[in-house]
């Protein structure tokens, strides 16, 4: 048995998302294993980002269930929660396809904002902090330490006080991942983290993701087009096409699955009828 069926951190059950007459995702079910790096792949327009938006609460699914199993055995039904609660309570963090950093704030501030909820409690919802009561001062220093830790990880410690908008594209991508990690997630959703990275940066990203998975007990789901990244680091691959799952398994299995090859590369003329029959056309 594999992890994703044995010990899933997230179960997607019969997820359907319709926008008016368009069915972006149709009856999609898959599991994300705890501690796995799961890749969600598929051609453009297959519905990958829509799945992400459903998981992180930016869209409300039309049908289906999304069950988050926290390591503390708490269960959260994500489809019923609002987006900020999903991060705050269910511990699911995400990054965006088009990077969304707070450009006018420094790199350190970006990481401090990510620890907002913890600091709010420590400052007794601002009142205690304003009066200088309680452990706010210490929590604040702890938060800076956490930020420093992640800045060292992503090698941006020297630029901690520079505005985030000044960073290069690759650095911004890594900062966004670090910022998501500062929320203390158990599931990290990365939307095309390697898009626009050069091979060296891509390699650094792989190392960062491996490190996160190993050292922080965080499961990772990622959308990716770069197959070298997918095949190298993922434990589990789910392939979508037209909102339907066409393959699900280890990278080795998916790589050789005729459905996947057909979806990505097309099929030879002689096999068209055979494939059409299989997919029910």
């Amino acid at each position: 048995m594999n992890t994703w069926d044995n010990n899933p951190v997230l179960k997607v059950e019969h997820l359907t998302m319709r926008f008016g007459g368009l069915t972006a995702i149709n009856d999609l079910s898959f599991n994300v294993g705890r501690g796995d790096i799961t890749a969600l792949i598929g051609p453009n327009g297959a519905g990958k980002t829509t799945v992400f938006n459903c998981i992180t609460g930016f869209y409300k699914p039309t049908e289906g269930r999304l069950v988050m199993n926290r390591s503390s055995d708490e269960k959260h039904l994500l489809e019923r929660m609002s987006d900020f609660k999903i991060t705050a309570d269910a511990k699911v963090a995400r990054t965006f396809q088009n990077i969304r950093l707070f450009g006018g704030m420094t790199i350190l501030e970006n990481l401090m904002v990510a620890q907002h909820n913890r600091l709010m409690i420590a400052s007794n919802w601002t009142i205690g902090g304003l009066l200088g009561l309680g452990g706010y001062r210490k929590s604040n220093l702890d938060a800076i330490e956490t930020a420093r830790y992640w800045l060292e990880r992503i090698e941006l410690i020297d630029r901690a006080d520079a505005p985030a908008a000044d960073l290069s594209y690759g650095d911004q991508r890594r900062l966004e991942i670090a910022r998501a990690m500062c929320t203390g997630p158990e599931l990290l959703c990365l939307d095309e983290p390697a898009a626009g990275l050069n091979p060296k940066e891509s390699l650094e990203l792989n190392n960062l993701l491996q490190y996160i998975r190993k050292e922080h007990d965080t499961s990772v789901v990622l959308i990716e087009h770069d197959m070298s990244v997918v095949m190298e680091i993922s434990d589990h691959v789910v392939v979508l096409d037209y909102g339907v799952k066409i393959s699900d398994g280890t990278p080795e299995f998916v790589k050789n699955d005729p459905h996947v090859i057909a979806a990505y590369l097309g099929v030879e003329d002689g096999e068209v009828e055979l494939v059409e029959e299989e997919v029910g056309l």
């Binding site: 965006f96 420093r148 505005p163």
Partner: protein, 444 residues
């Protein structure tokens, strides 16, 4: 094909200037040249007056001015390099000078009433201290609005509504229940914050321009209610006889038990004015202190993050609705404090004092000062309110000058006088401000 012959400098300049002159003529002939007036002495008869000389002057001035600019600058191949921007401080006001200005202004504000008294005497300094009180009121309002507009990036065009709530809270509580100023001051702040939350709830789903329009409408609603609820608020007649504040129980009155008597001074009405000055000064400093402190706290960072990118905030688990509401409520609270101060200073309030123009002036102070900059608000308030009052002699040209100053500032510094943002937390000691180009203005 032959390339089009280029006109000589003189011909090109003449052509361009003639065009401008024609446009000026077309505009001026009706707007300047004709004037409808009521004839005096012949009943209320209307008659048309023409002022062709003024039209001619306008046309000649535009023609000559444009011609001169063309021939010396615009049409020349080698325009003389006059760097006007070099005359102004590079990049606006730098970090160090900004700090110097800050402490300079603080010291000036502390000694101002006594310095004025020393030079001008009690009688002569009164109007200037009054003006300083007015400027400080606007500084406080600007700082309060800065939380909403500058930090959280929510465009609020109805800010004066909370100022009105504060003023009327005190006036009505004093009128109906006879409560004192010092008791009403916090109550007015709380009530204004409460109204901020009530108005904020439905409004804060909206973004950008829509938010601005709805806040504008809410501001007007409060004013119209105050205007029409005659039995309760006195309607357009306003409320008069609002009690003056006391100094730890000492009234500023002549005779036994008054402030002057207690301290063995000769009675003078200037004592109360100076007291009011220090009162609003303390209130403004309190506003600034709380704001600066909040900026370094999670809530303040969340406000700024909200201004930068709301969706990213939600993805980080920040409840954007409550975050926006706290900004709205806190801004409203400071307006409420300022409002009750206004009521006690004037002794009389009416809805006239809380028109949209007030909101616009406060917003202009915040924008001209630089969104999010505390010291910028001070400078803008001094320039706008102080300047506006000092130019009172110019009478009808006052508005013209006022408008021109605003245009010049906005052209010179589109993001306000002090536009760089200071980080709220830093690892290293020497931190540079963040240039305004990188900082978002917020879209609600």
């Amino acid at each position: 094909m032959q390339a089009r012959q280029r006109d000589s400098l003189l011909v090109a300049s003449l052509k361009d200037s003639l065009g401008a002159a024609v446009i000026t003529f077309a505009l001026a002939v009706v707007m300047v040249g004709l004037r409808v007036d009521v004839a005096s002495g012949r009943g209320a008869e209307l008659f048309l007056e023409n002022r062709w000389l003024a039209v001619a002057v306008a046309v000649v001035v535009v023609f000559a001015g444009r011609f001169a600019m063309n021939i010396f600058f615009w049409k020349r191949d080698d325009p003389p390099s006059l760097n006007f921007s070099g005359l102004l401080p590079e990049g606006g006001i730098g970090e160090r000078s900004s700090k110097a200005i800050k402490y300079g202004l603080l010291v000036l504000a502390v000694v101002l009433p006594f310095a004025l008294m020393f030079w001008l005497g009690a009688r002569g300094s009164r109007q200037y201290i009054d003006l300083a009180i007015l400027v400080l009121t606007y500084v406080m309002l600007g700082w309060g609005l800065n939380i909403v507009v500058g930090l959280a990036g929510l465009l609020d065009l109805g800010y004066v509504a909370f100022y009105a709530v504060g003023a009327y809270s005190y006036a009505l509580l004093a009128h109906y229940f006879g409560l004192s100023f010092w008791l009403c001051l916090p109550l007015a702040g709380i009530l204004a914050a409460f109204w901020g939350i009530i108005l904020g709830f439905p409004v804060l789903r909206l973004r950008g321009d829509y938010l601005a329009i709805v806040t504008l409408a809410f501001g007007e609603i409060i004013r119209v209610v105050l205007l029409n609820w005659y039995e309760f608020t006195g309607g357009p007649n306003g409320l008069s006889g609002i009690p003056r504040p006391s100094f730890f129980g000492l009234e500023f009155t002549r005779g036994e038990g008054g402030f002057a008597n207690f301290f063995g001074l000769d009675y003078s009405s200037i004592h109360r004015i100076i007291f009011l000055y220090y009162l609003i000064f303390a209130l403004a400093l309190f506003t600034n202190f709380v704001t600066m402190r909040l900026r370094r706290m999670p809530i303040g960072r969340a406000w700024e993050a909200l201004r930068e990118d709301e969706i990213a905030c939600r993805a980080l688990g920040i409840n954007t609705t409550t975050t926006k509401l706290t900004a709205f409520a806190l801004g409203a609270m400071f307006a409420g404090f300022a409002g009750s101060f206004f009521a006690t200073r004037q002794g009389f309030i009416s809805p006239e004092s809380f028109t949209f123009l007030e909101s616009a002036i406060i917003l202009a102070i915040v924008v001209l000062g630089g969104l999010g900059s505390q010291i910028g608000v001070v400078i803008a308030a001094i320039v706008m309110i102080g300047g506006f009052e000092l130019f009172r002699e110019f009478d009808q040209y006052r508005m013209l000058v006022f408008g021109m100053i605003m245009v010049v500032i906005m052209v010179w510094k589109p993001r306000g006088l002090i536009s760089s943002r200071t980080p709220s937390v830093a690892l290293s000691k020497n931190v540079k401000g963040i240039s305004a180009d990188l900082v978002q203005e917020g879209r609600g």
